[in-house]
Amino acid sequence: MLTLEKLSAGYGRMRILHEVDLHVGAGELVALVGANGAGKTTALRSICGQLAPHSGRIVFDGADTAGRRPDMLVRDGLVHVPEDRALFGTLTVEENLRMGAWTASAGDTTTRLDQVYELFPILAERRGQVAQTFSGGQQQMLAIGRALMAGPRLLLLDEPSTGLSPKLTWTMLDAVREVRDTGVSVLLVEQNAKQALAIADRAYVMESGSVVLSGGGGELADDERVRKAYLGL
């Protein structure tokens, strides 16, 4: 579904990622963990087309994404939930969700809206509320809901548990798993390594812009080096 080949990227001349190789298979939930500033977000930004790579290739669904803007990639089914959620703060919940389905037909919009409301009932309850008055956790749900509205085939999630209480974190990660179970591939960036690894099929560990470890989710969770890389313990 998604393959990064020796991807280097960064901001301006500043290079953050160094020759990253990474793969997400169809229907796979892959976790990407690493410390603050390791470059996880930068990797996601490059994949979704916000950031032009310095070198290397990003192949999505068999095609190189070079030169494609995020809105084009959304049409192909690659949807990114950014770290800052990028919600439309002045729009209502329902408007946010409907905007999520910008590329979809009217019929799809209605069915997906129902699905999202079923997944996050709180959103249905608050459908008329303006997004910027939402709490952090609610905003995070809305962001994921909005992404699902586009009917993604590959979902990039950047720290969806940020700002969530432990309980909500589990709800969230459960939801992510449910999404995966419907056949959507997921690339999940989480600082919350422990929990991310628990649900992931496979995982990569990143440090200072490079992938330093990879393997099955469970395997990595037991790895001493992962504990060290993540918590510094």
């Binding site: 160094h18 440090e207 200072s208 470890l213 990879s214 393997g215 395997e219 990595l220």
Partner: protein, 354 residues
């Protein structure tokens, strides 16, 4: 489980460039001196009509230097510099016509008044944290208020404005010379040179460095001890004072001032256009801009008044010169988004780096 060795970042430490001179202003002063010296014989060479254009260029230059200090170095985009220009013009005209005060004293008084008003406007705008387009519109509103108030205020002759009385012969003290006298150009040259010198001095002073840092990042500057409000006020005061010089000299050269000429929005626009075309936030941008903008309208007018053969169909079509001017304006901005000097300087710097 795959395992990759921990890679460290490749060492990308180039040998740094050499230290810049300790006093970069020295070179700029040298360039300024050369420019001034080159300009001195101009009024003797140029035909009188072009001599007048040259003086106009110098007035634009002073205005643009003033604007650039506040909006270029300081990043506070003023759309109301007519206020300071007008205060300079009116203060000197008022003192001269109503009280017979020498225009030189009037000029100094105008600088003080303009600086004070700039600080008041600035204080309120900064206090209420107006930024970007809002700050620009606020400065515009103040300039317009001054225009409207002078227009209806009998104390300064209302809409009629002031006409500077003609004297016989020439007098440096009265700042008046026969028509076409090179003295006007020379005095303007000294004033403009002084303005540029001030802007060089300011840019490299401790205050100037603070101001640039505040423009780049206000909070970061404050966090290392830059007194923000004080330096912003200092900047607008200096900017206002320099612009007032242009206003006072304008009055003495053109011998006539009215509210529209002094405080009209076209004055503010001229200051902006000149500085932006030249290169905002640079020492030489306003200089380059003044030469280009100041002569642009003359060139287009001359071209259209007596067009070359293949353009003869243009002769006498009104509005065409302004259209030409507008097209050039848009082209320059589109092609050189950092102004003529700014863009060229960047290109040179880039080439040097390679």
């Amino acid at each position: 489980m795959t395992d990759t060795a921990v890679e460290s970042r490749p060492p990308t430490r180039p040998a740094g460039p050499a230290a810049p001179p300790l006093r970069p202003q020295n070179r700029q002063f040298a360039v300024l001196a050369v420019l001034v010296l080159l300009a001195v014989p101009l009024p003797l060479i140029l035909p009188p009509a072009q001599g007048a254009v040259a003086v106009r260029i110098l007035i634009f230059l002073i205005m643009a230097v003033g604007w650039n200090i506040m909006s270029g170095f300081g990043g506070m985009f003023s759309f109301g510099h007519a206020a300071y220009f007008g205060l300079g013009a009116y203060t000197s005209a008022y003192l001269l016509v109503e009280h017979g005060v020498s225009p030189w004293v009037g000029m100094a008084a105008g600088m003080v008044v303009a600086a004070a008003v700039a600080m008041v406007i600035g204080y309120f705008s900064f206090r209420y944290d107006l930024k970007g387009a809002y700050f620009a519109l606020a400065t515009f509103a103040f300039a317009e208020m001054l225009r409207l108030i002078t227009t209806s205020s009998d104390a300064v002759n209302g809409a009629v404005g002031y006409q500077v009385p003609l004297i016989q012969g020439s007098s440096v003290g009265q700042l008046q010379f026969p028509a076409g006298s090179p003295a006007y150009f020379w005095i303007a040259l000294v004033l403009a040179g002084g303005a540029v010198a001030l802007s060089i001095l300011f840019r490299h002073s401790a205050a100037g460095r603070y101001v640039v840092a505040i423009r780049d990042d206000e909070l970061a500057a404050a966090s290392v001890g830059a007194p923000v409000m004080r330096h912003k006020l200092l900047t607008v005061a200096l900017s206002g004072a320099i612009t007032a010089v242009a206003g006072a000299f304008y009055t003495q050269y053109y011998l006539f001032i009215d509210p529209q000429l002094a405080f009209g929005s076209s004055v503010s626009i001229e200051a902006i256009v000149t500085a932006v075309i030249g290169g905002i936030g640079t020492i030489w941008g306003p200089v380059v801009g003044a030469v280009i903008v100041g002569s642009l309208s003359d060139v287009t007018a001359t071209l259209l008044a007596t067009p070359p053969e293949f353009l003869s169909f243009l002769q006498g079509r009104s509005g065409l010169d302004v259209i030409l001017y507008a097209v050039m304006l848009i082209l320059i901005v589109r092609l050189m988004p950092k102004g003529i000097f700014g863009t060229l300087a960047e290109k040179v710097a880039e080439r040097r780096r390679r």
